[in-house]
Symmetry: C2
Subunit: 131 residues, 2 copies
């Protein structure tokens, strides 16, 4: 039973008195989409990256989505944007200490996903009657 931990996480568990700020809904969920996770992982692996480097590494993302995600991550304080005021433009992104600390969790969860993905793919096939 981890109701103790849950209590610590949520503050309390009474649906009739929901917390003002939920750590999952209001803090975490804005950066747990696939693009944000990939941005953070790749920045962790390269210490600093330019916009188009990120865009290449995260194959499939559009400029629009990338710049939106970068803004959210910057606003929450996971990354910093450095504009070198050069021509042509040069901008670099890097993790903050908050971002680095979050990255530790992300790496563990990514490793977990990597180790278990074959199992999950099999589950999807076996459970294709659902959905």
């Amino acid at each position: 039973m981890l109701s103790g931990k849950l209590k610590k996480i949520f503050g309390h568990l009474d649906p009739n008195n929901p917390p003002i700020v939920c750590p999952i809904r209001d803090i975490l969920s804005s950066v747990t989409d696939k693009w944000s996770i990939l941005v953070l992982l790749f920045l962790g692996g390269h210490t600093k990256l330019r916009f188009n480097q990120l865009k290449s590494l995260i194959y499939g993302i559009s400029s629009k989505s990338l710049s939106e995600k970068l803004k959210i991550l910057e606003k929450d304080g996971y990354i910093v944007r450095e504009d070198f005021l050069e021509v042509p433009i040069r901008v670099e992104y890097r993790l903050t200490s908050l971002g680095l600390s979050h990255l530790e969790q992300l790496i563990k969860i990514a490793e977990w996903a990597s180790e278990n993905m074959n199992t999950i793919i099999k589950n999807r096939v076996n459970n294709s009657h659902l959905s």
Copy 2:
């Protein structure tokens, strides 16, 4: 530098040869939305829960969204659904061993979010000129 870990996670890092299956995009991202995380956390805290119990705990979710998320989690093998074939209907959800192992990561990340949420809320205020 954690390019070693990244390589282990992604298989390789060459954007010209993207992996067929990306652990983040294709495995993780379907269960990292706020509702799925909350479902898994609450199931972890209660060992088993009925549909409407979950709905009450996860204040704000609709029946429709909850049943959709439950189906995805069941299909990927994180949870099992047990129908007791009683009248009135009784259905219970519980974590599988895969779900339990995933839960360990989730708890750590939830605790991280809980510890850092005040910092992040402050960041959002200070960076409100962005966005």
